[in-house]
């Protein structure tokens, strides 16, 4: 690699970063304007949108709705995906390879189609769409992805470790707590992070399946389309910061597991 190529590489990287983050930055800038229309450059700078956003009860309700949907999706899909991934990675059963193909199928549907299909499905069964049906809808799409993420971790796993633990006196519960879960935890955490963020930011499925409830992305979308005010951008920024914060916390936890789990005294019991 010559010096010239190194520069080209650095410029390329810088371009990618700028192009990725500039749009997000522009939302941030828009939130600081005091106008009814998004336009640059600003005539009046103001943080009024943020004080508005923080004082509005709606901000809290939107975040709470999205949060409870995302948290439920995370917990349920991590549990189900772990069971599915274990069944797939560990045991040989009839239909195992069919399962591998079917399980990822929902990712290939365009989400609006999937959303409409689910709405029809819910009404056929007589369910009124609420945030709870949205949890189910999100899981249809999120579960395959989480299953894949956890499977990757499981493939490197030697099930004989569990036999060894049993042999050394561990009860079934101790095997799970001392061997299986500590090994799987990085996969569970990154799977959970995926689940949370995919649900947190999902629009196409929510639009069809939340009924009278409104999630953050739904509200943002409708307000951007019709009734824009800087407070919309302000709430978008707050929501983005919330998910960035979550991401940072998870990365920190993974770091801790990595260093502490192997080297440290690790007295988990």
């Amino acid at each position: 690699m010559t010096r010239a190529w190194k520069y080209v590489g650095a410029i390329w990287l810088a371009l990618v970063v700028v192009l990725l983050y500039l749009p997000i930055l522009s939302v941030g800038l828009a939130s600081l304007a005091n106008t009814r229309y998004m336009r640059f450059p600003h005539r009046n700078w103001s943080i009024g949108a943020y004080t508005d956003a923080l004082s509005q009860h709606e901000t809290l309700v939107l975040h709470l709705t999205s949060l409870k949907v995302a948290l439920l999706v995370t917990v349920l899909s991590v549990i189900l995906a772990t069971l599915g991934a274990m069944a797939f990675a560990r045991y040989d059963w009839r239909g195992r390879s069919a399962f591998q193909k079917v399980v990822v199928l929902p990712i290939f549907f365009p989400q609006p189609v999937l959303g409409l299909a689910l709405l029809l499905f819910f009404s056929a069964l007589g369910f009124t769409p609420t945030w709870k049906t949205a949890v189910f809808a999100h899981m249809v799409w999120v579960l395959p992805i989480v299953t894949l993420v956890i499977s990757i971790r499981l493939f490197g796993y030697d099930p004989a470790q569990e036999d060894a633990a049993r042999d050394l006196g561990a009860s079934r519960w101790q095997v799970l707590r001392e061997v299986t879960l500590p090994y799987l935890s990085p996969g569970l955490i990154s799977g959970g992070l995926f689940a949370f963020l995919l649900s947190w930011s999902n629009l196409p499925l929510s639009i069809f399946t939340t009924g009278a409830d409104t999630t953050l992305p739904e509200w943002l979308f409708s307000r951007v389309a019709t009734n824009y005010a800087p407070v919309v951008s302000a709430i978008a920024v707050i929501a983005t910061l919330a998910s960035v914060l979550l991401g940072c916390v998870v990365i920190l936890i993974l770091r801790l597991i990595d260093t502490h789990g192997i080297k440290g005294d690790g007295d988990h019991g």
Binding site: D163, A164, D167, G169, I262, G266, G269
Partner: protein, 347 residues
């Protein structure tokens, strides 16, 4: 080889009574009966798929027999779960806990018993010394250990539970030759020093010969023969065992006639003569036994001895001679053996 107890005084550590394990119609274990004595190094040898590992897993409680029972010093433990048995196993994959340090691996069994951390650490130190790793390894990650070191960690971890019986499932198969040899000797030494019962599985005859008090040969879920290494080598029960225990020349005998040589045998009517390579040697006219013309096809120097491949009327035969042997390819020599001194098998 000094032993404190005479064989007659030894107690039975493990009794296997008609143990079978069926997977559908496949009989992985077919009515195995065996008594393993206290303080014995017992090795089960067999080709892959012969049921060795299935048997060991049943002994350790990791699998349940379809039929039969298992006694530990006379107490039935057939249905006792693995975590309650006073046995420990070294696995083929070693099955070390990769997310734990060497020390945490070693003290796992102690932690499961609720022993406090300082005591556990003290015992782990002792065990690490015992397996020649040393306490410096305590904080090391198992993923940073070499193959031989991982082996020792696995051994220390199994010893930590102070088991009455230790099981080994081909633990050395992934190591290079030199390391394997070293560890074979160390294991044997450890077994003598601790006086524990070791049940060892391998497909390597050499490993079995070096370490064992007794060897059991397995084939298709059955124990074909049980005996000391010398017995199994010198008096195999059939051609399968003879072939499995190393290089061998086998000659068919039919109605007192050695078929390949058109010669007669007084001691055997029908069956097969088992002629080990070292029993086949160059002869003078006055030597007793059967003589025949041989042309040297190949010469392999094996260090302390020489292996010769001979072209004869009976086809290609194998002979082994001391390293001083000067025969070269294409030499024509008279070779022979004494059929009356040769072990024979009916099938």
């Amino acid at each position: 080889m000094t032993r404190t107890a005479e064989p007659a005084q030894r107690q039975t550590a493990l009794s296997l009574i008609g143990l079978s394990r069926h997977f559908g119609t496949f009989k992985a274990l077919d009515s195995i009966s065996l008594e393993i004595e206290e303080g014995e190094f017992f090795t089960i040898v067999g080709p892959s798929g012969s049921g060795k590992t299935t048997m060991l897993r049943i002994l350790a409680g990791l699998d349940q027999p379809t039929q039969g029972s298992l006694l530990l010093r006379g107490t039935d433990i057939t249905r006792m779960p693995a975590n309650q048995r006073p046995t420990a196993m070294v696995f083929q994959s070693l099955a070390l806990f990769d997310h734990r340090s060497v020390g945490e691996n070693v003290e796992f069994a102690l932690k499961m018993r609720g022993m406090p951390k300082p005591e556990r650490r003290e015992q782990a130190f002792e065990l690490l010394d015992l397996v020649h790793l040393g306490r410096d390894y305590y904080n090391r990650a198992v993923t940073q250990c070499s193959g031989g070191e991982r082996q020792r960690v696995a051994l220390a971890r199994a010893l930590a539970s102070d088991p009455e019986i230790l099981f080994f499932d081909e633990p050395l198969s992934a190591l290079d030759y030199r390391l394997r040899k070293t560890l074979e000797v160390e294991l044997r030494e450890l077994q003598r020093r601790t006086g524990r019962t070791f049940v060892y599985i391998t497909h390597s005859l050499e490993e079995a010969m070096v370490m064992s008090d007794r060897i059991g040969i397995m084939r298709e879920g059955k124990l074909v023969q049980i005996g000391t290494p010398a017995e199994i080598y010198g008096q195999p029960k059939d051609r399968f065992v003879a072939r499995f225990m190393g290089e061998v020349n086998i000659f068919e005998v039919s109605d007192h006639r050695l078929v390949d040589f058109e010669a007669s045998v007084s001691t055997v009517k029908d069956g097969f003569l088992i002629v080990r390579p070292e029993m086949l040697h160059p002869v003078d006219a006055e030597d007793p036994g059967l003589h025949f013309e041989a042309t040297i096809a190949e010469v392999f120097r094996l260090g302390s001895r020489v292996q010769l491949h001979l072209e004869t009327v009976a086809g290609l035969l194998v002979s082994e001679q001391p390293a001083s042997c000067q025969l070269k390819p294409n030499d024509a020599v008279r070779f022979g053996f004494d059929p009356d001194q040769t072990h024979s098998v009916p099938e």
